[in-house]
Symmetry: C2
Subunit: 306 residues, 2 copies
Amino acid sequence: MLPVVVVHGGAGHCPKEMSESAKKGVCAAARAGYEVLRGGGSSMDAVVEAVTQLENNSLFNAGCGSVLNIKGDVEMDALVMDGQTLASGAVAAVRNIANPVQLSRLVMDKTSHVCLTAGGAQQFAESMGVPLVQQESLITLRPPACAGGRTWHPRPTQGKMGTVGAVAVDVHGNVASATSTGGILNKMEGRVGDTPCVGCGGYADNRVGAVSTTGYGEAIMKVTLARLILFHMEQGQSAEAASDSALAYMKSRVEGLGGVVTVDPQGHWAARFSSTQMCWAAAQEDVLHYGVYAGEHLTENITTPQ
Amino acid sequence: MLPVVVVHGGAGHCPKEMSESAKKGVCAAARAGYEVLRGGGSSMDAVVEAVTQLENNSLFNAGCGSVLNIKGDVEMDALVMDGQTLASGAVAAVRNIANPVQLSRLVMDKTSHVCLTAGGAQQFAESMGVPLVQQESLITLRPPACAGGRTWHPRPTQGKMGTVGAVAVDVHGNVASATSTGGILNKMEGRVGDTPCVGCGGYADNRVGAVSTTGYGEAIMKVTLARLILFHMEQGQSAEAASDSALAYMKSRVEGLGGVVTVDPQGHWAARFSSTQMCWAAAQEDVLHYGVYAGEHLTENITTPQ
């Protein structure tokens, strides 16, 4: 069953013309994470690699491709959590960084803190030698678009579609979670969503499992969605049942839709959503699983050339 | 049993010469919150009033009296949560605001977001007509001290001692939580602790109860302390037992010390801590309860002149 990695490219409405590209994007990210795991890398290495790939893909609302706030600026949130130590690292409302997930890992590894925000996060990046990038290089809503000129026009109603995330279990049974986002289109300056909030955007605990969430951030925070799923698993539910029951609770209690990827330390995994769609992919035992629509579950051999 | 309000002035080591003043501070805050409740105010009104009193008291590490970050600046975090709607509001790493708890409530009431950080939070404050204050007016570590020239010299080891918070249940059975802090002494610029993180610094749910936490923020985040206590209560534990078991878990799992104030919707309350001390006070049925040291539980009639 081990290793395994599961990624998501965001819950919400994925325009039909984008769905094939989105599938390719999540599949490539899952393959990249799986490659790390097969090479003996840790689950933390794998989730950071998978999320980095998604941040670098301008289709998704994280890193390059992030939506703009009300002032037309990119401010990004990210979180990583290590199930072995319960340590986590996060950045909130950070600007001019290509890969917030990597900066989150540096916060976890190189500071005594969990979360750095805004200018402080940027100063920390500079002190770590992380290059600052021009904001224009992160924006794909208007020309010049990055990554070969692809453009992406999210609708105001589409909320947080495109938040990306990954969970993994390595061969040692260690679990990890990573999540990254550009947030909500037209958000206020300085808005921090659920993503960098431990227990909301993600959680990882070797004794139970790991979760990364996507959806309407303010609803996710109301129910601390990631931690809620793991509480259900502590009570004996499977990764899939726990994910479904927590998503159903979020819908009934606070009318919030979203999606999650979940693993347990044995390698059982789930990619579940209450939204119309969620791009997801999983890699396990040399098989790639993926889908976008409810009930869609495609597979291919992982040695198949991409 | 209703209404009830319970406040804390922070877990950690309280120097003996400060303990009487700290007791007076938490008692005054509990009285203020209780007065709101007796006047028919909501639990949210009460916790914001109680925490405002503590922010204005330079003894405590929140608002005026906040510790300084590594650059000698004050950056504050705060969170409020409403148990009726599960709505919350927070500010993170905000500067030049006298009462972050009040600004958090404005974020909850006046925006569609949960958390605003740094400059964005400050801009929002200005847009709401909240006056910006000079940083010097918040600093009591060095002259000129505010509030009559009292000075306060926290030791580097003392961590987050002085984070303040309150929970309450009003006559309608609605619960609320509020927490506010200057964070950890010598923290990096932009460091965000557990306080503004929903489920960590606080949580409130009318179906279960409300919690406000204090202690080593990074440990509190590892175990999502506030939400953990309420999960225990959902499993049938009392407010006191749930608080104790979650604090014991935090100590054994991640070697973290802290304290909490907890209520259930029926008005049962607890003020528990694994740290050496925690200043706390509760007001219920016209009796004021308070203490600082382990096992200390003093009472006085709430009509007694202060």
